[in-house]
Assembly symmetry: C2
Homo-oligomer: 247 residues x 2
DNA sequence: CGCGCTGTTGAAACTTGTCAAAGTTTGTGG
DNA sequence: CCACAAACTTTGACAAGTTTCAACAGCGCG
């Protein structure tokens, strides 16, 4: 075997566990793609990358090359303005994509930080564009993913613009619950990976307000809270609280 | 000429004013596309549509078929939750796209309403996907447009999550100013197309708060305000106000 | 075992929302 | 073209919700 061939073989070994036999493919990009096309998709993922808790996946200003699919772990993204104010724009879990913000200007516009030890698949964007010119389903699915992100952002805008503190936290918990459920975990009991401060930043609240809302929910029997361990005791109560308040 | 040929000829006449000689192409999708490819693009725009002030371009729940480019006029988009609360998610002006939210679920997730008499180009989405498989630049540009929308939404989230009322209004006015400027209009003097209530909804404030902020800006010599007619007297003042307040 | 970080709780201050009234502009129909 | 109604805006006073500041508790790590 020539050196080149060996390198190629090696590269193949490295990625051969990619999409086609990844147990996440129902959540990630390959959704709904034909088995035959799935093979092509394997070329797509160039590298895996492991991150420790606290590591940056990418930073504001860094050149954009790839989008990332979370294979395991938990991330947050945040943005900043000059004066130092910042805000968490999202929390990403298994199967969700990171980096879509970088496409517009070829530079990342937010930071992505691992909230626990995590692993991601790096998908070189030019490669993804190339492949989606060949595979309609992939193209369409990618467009849907981007659009879903826009719709999600609109939901957050609604939350930030119209809801009060407790409604925001209820909405947040219900959203998390539902995403855990979609991944086969308990929707009623889970561990928060983020601090009160990070929740507050995401919800446009101060950490004290978040803490008070947690206490209130506990008093009202909606939740049991032990530090980051949450158990939802009354889902409907949370839903009612989220919507039915004020006019 | 056969009937068919005549029909084709007629169809061509109807659309021949499309992209290739539209004076907006620097702002709209065709940006950076080769003249040769521009011809293909002309097929893209299936119809123009005129709307009167107050008309809906599309509504929540309506099936998604096309995205729209604003040719002239001014729009708002808004979302609702069950309990009746709603929020304006954006204002769109000439050259900007509408409808990206509909891709994810094949159904529109917000309302798009004309704030003045307007005209849009309808771009059938399946057609756009087809063409962007052929024209790399179009594909890439479209991805950038979607990504830019995500980045914009993050900016709004930052505004809603971290800024106080006057900062929000300052940011809003500076943003409008800059967009008017980009279209060749005066950045210092313009007419608001939306009501105080709509501004408030977008900024997560009550209309009274918006009104008070306007009055305050006027007292401070930053603006002159006569109903919807705004003149910015001190851009730097607005910028300082937007960022430099609180920690 | 103690130090530091994160979270909780309380009281006061501040910002924005709510309610109400009056002024202004726009649109419609006579 | 005027008059009147409807819609929108401004302003004030007060209420409510959230932040700020401060103190303290709990947990985890070295």
């Amino acid at each position: 075997m020539s050196n080149n061939a060996m390198a190629a073989r090696l590269a193949f070994e490295l990625v051969k566990t990619a999409c086609s036999n990844c147990n996440l493919r129902e959540l990630c990009l390959p959704i709904g793609i034909e088995p035959a096309e799935l093979k092509k998709l394997d070329e797509l993922v160039s590298t895996r990358r492991r991150l420790r808790r606290g590591d940056f996946l990418y930073r504001v200003g860094q050149g954009f090359e790839s989008i990332y699919a979370v294979r395991s772990g938990f991330f947050k993204t945040d943005v900043m303005i000059e004066d130092g104010r910042d805000q968490v724009t999202g929390f990403q879990m298994t199967g969700e994509l990171l980096g879509l913000d970088g496409i517009s200007s070829e530079v990342h516009t937010c930071n992505a930080i691992a909230l626990e030890d995590s692993e991601v698949c790096a998908i070189p964007f030019s490669h993804l564009e190339g492949l989606s010119r060949q595979i309609h389903t992939l193209q369409h699915h990618f467009h849907k993913v981007m659009s879903r992100e826009i719709v999600r952002d609109h939901g957050v805008m609604l939350l930030l613009g119209t809801m009060r503190a407790e409604e925001r936290l209820a909405a947040f918990l219900l959203n998390l619950s539902q995403r855990f459920k979609a991944r086969g975990y308990s929707p009623a009991e889970f561990n928060l990976r983020m601090s009160r401060d990070e929740i507050g930043s995401y919800l446009g609240l101060k950490l004290e307000t978040v803490s008070r809302a947690f206490s209130r929910f506990q008093e009202d029997g909606l939740l049991s809270v032990h530090q980051k361990k949450i158990r939802i005791l009354n889902t409907d109560g949370l839903k009612t609280l989220m919507t039915h308040q004020r006019g």
